[in-house]
């Protein structure tokens, strides 16, 4: 664990711990829904990467924005979403964040500044940068964080928008979650040179951090978010992390692309929740029992939310062609309006 500096507020620590647990528990339930054939389609689990989303989002305020990925449940929870609307979305119900129209890969939560998951790898890099441009033009000091994977660094769009972000000094932080794989391929087979050097070449200050250490991530995020607010952005962070499950829930036999040993090492020695929990008890911030209680609470929450969602209504058939176009108030279309 990284050394803690000024920050000694145990409430913050416990909230981070709880948020990481919430992500893990959410994913366990989502996986279960898939395995029991209750969830339509597929989904991509964030388990193992919790310290990344939580470390970063805990440095943000509600009006700050994030863009998320196909592996987006973790970002969504970390930015403040509720279980009920999330499970409803995963199950295609009307009370989902997107009224069931988006599903896992498009989950969004505008009320908390989550501009949405994206099923196009790299698809939200422009959106995040545009959100930062909007903040700057508006004179607001909101910051936008763009989450994406190591695999997404192969999309040319990243370099186009980093160039503009650097030229225009936009308040955006590019957060590259390097979990070692893009689908069934190791990062070193798809990424030449150095990922952080690529951002640096555009004049963007760049960092590499242990993505399993929530305090290290949060510490760096606090600093960079603060600097971005003051107009010193953009920044780039590579977060070294690992996904515990397959690429998606259906990716069960993984031997041909990664070993059980490798998985075991990450899970047993580098788990972000276990290690942070240990640190919290070692430092006397919380007792093992208190942590246990948090987990149980979260599990109960999740269980209730799943049950609620399973019983919730599907959207009406009439909704199918609703929301293709946003309404425009006819009054605004008049001369003089």
């Amino acid at each position: 664990m990284s050394p803690v500096k000024k920050k000694t507020n145990s409430e913050d620590y416990l909230r981070m711990y709880r948020q990481m647990v919430r992500i893990r528990v959410f994913e366990d339930n989502a996986n279960q829904l898939y395995l029991s054939a209750k969830m339509p389609g597929l989904t991509h689990m964030y388990s193992g990467e919790e310290a990344v989303a939580v470390g970063i989002c805990e440095a943000l305020r509600v009006s700050d924005k994030i863009t998320s990925t196909h592996r987006g449940h973790g970002h969504c929870v970390a930015k403040g979403a509720r279980f009920k609307e999330m499970f409803c979305e995963l199950l295609g119900r009307e009370e989902g964040y997107c009224r069931g129209k988006g599903g896992s890969m498009h989950i969004a939560d505008q009320s908390n500044g989550n501009l949405g998951a994206n099923a196009i790898v790299g698809g939200s890099m422009g959106i995040a940068t545009g959100s930062a441009l909007r903040a700057k033009l508006q004179g607001s000091d909101d910051v936008t964080v763009c989450f994406f994977g190591d695999g997404a660094t192969a999309q040319g769009l990243l370099y186009e928008v980093m160039n503009m972000a650097a030229l225009w000094k936009l308040p955006v932080i590019y957060a590259c979650e390097n979990n070692g794989y893009s689908e069934y391929t190791k990062t070193e087979e798809i990424a030449a040179g150095s990922i952080v050097a690529r951002a640096e070449a555009f004049g963007i200050e760049s960092f590499r951090v242990d993505g399993q250490d929530v305090l290290a991530v949060n510490d760096l995020a606090q600093k960079l978010v603060g600097r971005a607010r003051r107009g010193e952005g953009p920044f780039f962070i590579e977060l070294v992390t690992y996904r515990y499950h397959g690429h998606h829930v259906g990716d069960i036999n993984r031997d041909y692309y990664r070993s059980k040993e490798e998985e075991a090492i990450w899970k047993e020695r580098r788990d972000p929740i276990v290690n942070f929990g240990k640190w919290l008890t070692d430092e006397g911030v919380a007792s093992a029992k208190e942590l246990q209680a948090i987990e149980e609470e979260v599990r109960a929450d999740a269980k209730a939310a799943v049950e609620y969602a399973l019983a919730a209504r599907y959207p009406e058939a009439a909704e199918v062609d609703m929301h293709v176009y946003a309404a425009t108030d006819p009054d605004t279309l008049r001369p003089g309006a």
Partner: protein
């Protein structure tokens, strides 16, 4: 009413809307000091500054994506895409992102942006600078598509596009930038989904878009001299499409040609013809015919290029055949 060029009309529309709404900004290549290669935007950066008339690097997917993000968070960007042919570069941001965000979010997010670009051949600009690609975006639900046919439409449709809460793609005819047309002094907007009957007639309907409106008006002149009365209708927006006006005209004249500058095959003429056919079939004396650009990449050589686009003479010839009943034997 003054006569102003299509360039000026677009420029006025942008200036008026930027004065009216501080969230409107322009983004694209060489839009500021240079005012675009077609000089459509001259003077805007002087009035609104480089914060609202934003020059970008040559990164079409990038600045299109940035516009989507800005639109999702409260701005109304007008994206300037220098040539319509470059739309291929931004299709993902336009069609997978901008077009779908409102729906995918269950109506919670919206993307009020305008993509300004152009169409039209016969400028000797060859295959990658001469395409009319509006059919591609018309196929994607979530996008609206406007095709102004003169300075008047260019101004009125642009103002509506900027105020619309959805992504709107406007294709200007690049050969028309210096063409003048009467444009009111007072503010006006042209509603989407309202076709305009450019000239009333009773023997045949010519449905014409963008550059082809002039072509069909000329054709109608020639036909008039032969005592064939042609009705020329400009749909103005193809999404939404004013089916009713088209169908009513077809029922009246019983003969229709749809004329458009996009490639004919799998272009917009098939859709418009089919909709008319479906709703007016029992009133038609002949099949709804179509004329689009030839199904070839646009050639550079002027002698070839001029063959690829419908001309007034070609429209007249086809109209004559339709009216004379010759098609019956062809089928």
């Amino acid at each position: 009413m003054r006569n102003i060029t299509l360039s000026q009309a677009v420029n006025e529309a942008l200036a008026e809307e930027m004065r009216r709404d501080p969230t409107v900004f322009i983004i694209g290549e060489d839009v500021a000091e240079a005012g675009t290669p077609f000089k459509v935007l001259s003077g805007l950066v002087e009035e609104f500054g480089t914060q609202r008339v934003i020059d970008t690097p040559i990164s079409e997917p990038g600045f299109m994506g940035i516009a989507v993000g800005a639109a999702m968070t409260g701005a109304r960007p007008v994206v300037d895409l220098m040539f319509g042919d470059f739309i291929f570069l931004i299709m993902d941001q336009l069609c997978n992102q901008a077009a779908k965000t409102h729906y995918m979010s269950g109506g919670k997010l919206s993307v009020p942006l305008v993509l300004r670009t152009n169409l039209g051949a016969t400028r000797r600009s060859a295959a990658q600078h001469s395409q009319s690609l509006h059919a591609l975006v018309a196929h994607i639900p979530g996008l609206k598509v406007a095709l102004p046919s003169s300075a008047y439409e260019a101004k009125g449709l642009m103002k509506t596009a900027i105020r619309d809460n959805n992504p709107v793609v406007i294709f200007e005819d690049k050969l028309m930038y210096s063409d003048k047309a009467p444009v009111p002094d007072e503010e006006y907007l042209i509603p989407f989904g309202q076709a305009e009957i450019k000239r009333a007639g009773k023997d045949i309907t010519l449905v014409a878009t963008s550059s082809m409106v002039q072509v069909c008006e000329k054709a109608a002149d020639i036909l008039a001299a032969e005592n064939i009365s042609a009705e020329v209708i400009d749909p103005r927006t193809i999404v939404p499409l004013d089916e009713e006006t088209l169908v009513n005209s077809a029922k009246k004249t019983s003969r229709v040609i749809v004329v458009d500058e996009g490639h004919q095959s799998y272009g917009i003429t098939g859709e418009i013809a089919s909709r008319i056919n479906e709703k007016a079939f029992y009133h038609l004396d002949a099949p709804v015919l179509r004329m689009g650009a030839m199904d070839v990449p646009v050639p550079f050589s002027p002698v070839l290029e001029d063959l690829t686009v419908p001309t007034p003479e070609a429209v007249v010839e086809k109209a004559r055949k339709l009216v004379s009943g010759e098609m019956i034997h062809a089928a």
